[in-house]
Symmetry: D2
Subunit: 307 residues, 4 copies
């Protein structure tokens, strides 16, 4: 599989990790959901991220998941390798690159505060990922608690040619995309910017210069259509499709609870056999299930109107 | 003006504080926006909250704002009195109740962690608010950093008959509404639950048993219609109206940046003369302005379709 | 009273605010403790800081305390003016400078994270303090949660000639003193560095180039002696005096609980009439009282040995 | 090796992990420092904790370290198994108990806030540790950010007979020891309380009812003597020994920087070959080295005076 480059665009689906109700990994469903993302228009996959319940897996399991997905997917696979220590990053990165991963993604540890600390950490983490391994910088302050200034992102990009992509998940973050693109116009090396946050601001993000989405919304075809239509200059049509899905996007974007929503929808759509999360992590309560069912029915009607 | 009770419902608009471009309070616009909220269906007002830039006012100014709004509004006015110290709460609470406020709202200081600390703080804060003064419990962990368990909220309600309302702004928080209503079915004293978060989950919140909204979305008529229609059992119609506004709700709900959006829209709608925020606080950048303009145009079209 | 300059040195005692057991401010004790600090060797005073229970005072009370201390003290008085909003800083700063304060102290609000945010905040806060008003930069990450890089401190010093002093309270912070002094050797404007943290690292801080202490340890004579002896090159004698007090320094340095210790000791030493804190804030429990009594007895014996 | 019980007492030394200057684990030094702790009076050892740089090791390395120490030590060895996910806890716990560990230690993940969340987490973590495996509850809010109320600790102890020990590292925490012992007098199951924080409050902790220390101060013989003398009712003598070491205790207790101090002292004392930390983690700067050298010389003189 070719390595990730700064030209990457489209939709990198953040994959869930399917489990059996008893907590074992469901590898058949892992194949099925991998195929599902590709059928719905994903141009890449991202695994072992926060929404992939990576922290609930043993190291052995994490590698099994990576191996299975990389072997099956016909698109570039980015693997999350964030870990409390550099040695663990080195170990996992070497292992998944060897399996054929396209690159690795690194989020900053939660204790970083000052610009110098962040810059210094990425110098170490990029080295730990291994020479020549493409690195995705994950900027997700709501979860990590780390705020990266646009200037710091620019320094990291300049310091490390291996950093080829920003997973943009700052909130609010539209101004950040604009600022980075301005810096690039002024000479800073251009990187790919793929946006997260469940796609909640995707039309605006595309308008600001993003190259696509990297997120796990359970209707990846919406993400793919919006990115494609924006690329074709059909912003109004893109927005119509987006708005139709927005009630669900918003609902799935709830912290913690959101993963239960996502897995419930994926199971209803046949992409995975069970909505089970590994403990800790609860299934969707009955009230929420009814709310999602109602939104899915409304989505069908609205899409029919728009067809 | 009668005091706030546990029967309160409808829409309590969180009022902005209008400023002149030079930073002075714009009292004419304060009158105008007060009238605007009422014309659009607000059944109450909430002032001196976070989105009212209360922390940027001197004590003297804060009282001037409270006096002006309470004198002009024909609906109950809740006043935010959160402060680092109890003496300041006592002073401001006595002052605004004297002016005719319907009650006061208290958010927890950010250093509270354990259930016992939270319960103990509210014992002191309720006493500081003054005997018989209705208190609104503000549960807003995204901003305060304080997580209040449903059981703790129940204890505070049971301990203090003065606590008549929950400003519900947990995120995700739907399960919390359900849990509180269940506790009430089992005998806990019933309180009013008004929901914040810009209205982002209002239809679901009403379905879970909320009594309305307390938030500052710049189209308060949407909030009023959704609450009213839900009350009349017209959930689908409510959802249609809601969905039409959702792109804007979402956009205005961005932390920090959201207030600039809100004031820009209110200024465009003629409710205030200037979108100016007192420093620190910047006006909306040009790109964002264009995004909001586009969404407002689309909203008009969508509402016409739904009419 | 002359204004604070970058030449300030010695011991600026962080004054407690004495209360009667019923919660009223005890102004007689305020006079007495002011005299006490001066008799014990303080070369300046700092009031309305965190350990002065400033947040528990109303604005009116805060000014009464400031007026009383400034009028009585024959040394420069620094007044803490940190507040959530700039308008409040302006108001309090103007008021206390008018009374004869030597300067004001500003801690960063807890939401600041990036270097740019911190630098931008101090630009606003210094302006808010008023033209020409000497400003003390308070660097206290354990309480504020804000981490200021040495480079950022340097930028603030360079940007704002009004900033004449660093209240150094980072922990660990010895390397920061060394780094700032190095930057000054390389041309950065020299400021006064007075150290906090209850004096817990005072001998090492003096060795690294600090100009003294700004803290509230209940034996200010120890701080004064250590600073003086270090200035005379008598480091070993300074360390002997310091070590004798260290068990108490350490005990008083416990967060939250420390203020009860400090007030208990000050009351035992006759500097204030009552150890009462204004609510919330509890007196020392019996076990802790016994521990402090024992340490004070041991201190007497050890000082006798050293005499 | 027998399993850990609630009768455990004395000094459990938190072991460093020695590295060669090039970053490889130094197993010879690991043997040497294991022997050193025992010679200096440790009655147990704790490995793979925060100060053991556990997060910098790969899983494979972590097990090698555990195997080596457990095989060599003639005392009970507690192994830190805190991990972001339960599966990793299960895996490591089973592995080290199989090697002959006496029990495992679990700190709470940093996102826990409410009492119910903490209680629920420990129900899962204790199950994950494995049936019958003794569990040490690590209460270290300064690092974890999680505040455990005494009542919550009591509930966890009552819920899970496997929890036999509290690693007490709250700060301030003396009142917590007193409160737990009172609850035990009222019928709560008695546990062992060993105290951390580098021993900074050891004499007082023993006076409040602690059973000893679990910490890594580089002079473990001081910890052993203080615990022993307190047990023999020789509190004054214990305090003399403690006070002599206090300047170093305090200096080593600096966050982050403290580990460099500890390793420097251990290397100077011959317990490990190199003070190297694995990256990230810097050696002690020259100024700090001189400060430590001076304190060690003063300690020698003071101990001679006391002999």
């Amino acid at each position: 599989m070719p390595l990730l480059t700064a030209d990457a665009k489209g939709v990198y689906a953040i994959s869930v990790t399917p489990f059996h109700p008893d907590g074992r990994i469901d590898f058949d469903s892992l194949d099925r959901v991998t195929d599902f993302y590709l059928e719905k228009g994903a141009t890449g996959l991202t695994i072992l991220g926060i929404m992939g319940e990576a922290q609930k897996l043993t190291q052995h399991e994490a590698r099994d998941v990576a191996r299975r997905v990389i072997a099956r997917a016909s698109v570039p696979v980015v693997v999350g390798v964030s870990a409390p220590g550099l040695a663990a990053i080195t170990e996992l990165s070497a292992s998944v690159m060897d399996m054929g991963a396209a690159g690795v993604m690194v989020a900053p540890p939660g204790n970083l505060r000052t610009d110098a600390q962040i810059r210094s950490y990425y110098a170490q983490a990029v080295a730990a990922a291994g020479e020549g391994v493409p690195v995705v910088l994950q900027d997700y302050p709501l979860i990590t608690g780390v705020q990266m200034d646009t200037a710091v992102i620019g320094q990291i990009v300049t310091d490390h040619p291996q950093v080829v992509m920003l997973k943009h998940e700052d909130w609010p973050g539209l101004a950040k995309i604009t600022a980075i693109r301005k810096s690039e116009s002024a000479g800073q090396r251009r990187i790919s910017i793929l946006c997260g946050n469940g796609g909640l601001f995707l039309p605006e993000e595309m308008g600001r210069g993003a190259n696509g989405a990297m997120t796990g919304f359970a209707f990846p075809e919406m993400l793919a259509q919006v990115v494609a239509l924006c690329g074709q200059g059909q912003a109004e049509r893109a927005q119509d499709i987006f708005d139709a899905h927005l009630p669900l996007v918003r609902y799935e974007q709830q912290p913690v609870a959101g993963l239960a929503v996502r897995k419930y929808v994926l199971a209803r759509r046949g992409a995975i056999a069970s909505e089970a999360q590994r403990a800790p992590g609860a299934n969707l309560p009955a009230e929420a299930r009814a709310e999602v069912d109602r939104m899915m029915a409304r989505l069908d009607r609205r899409l029919a109107e728009l067809a």
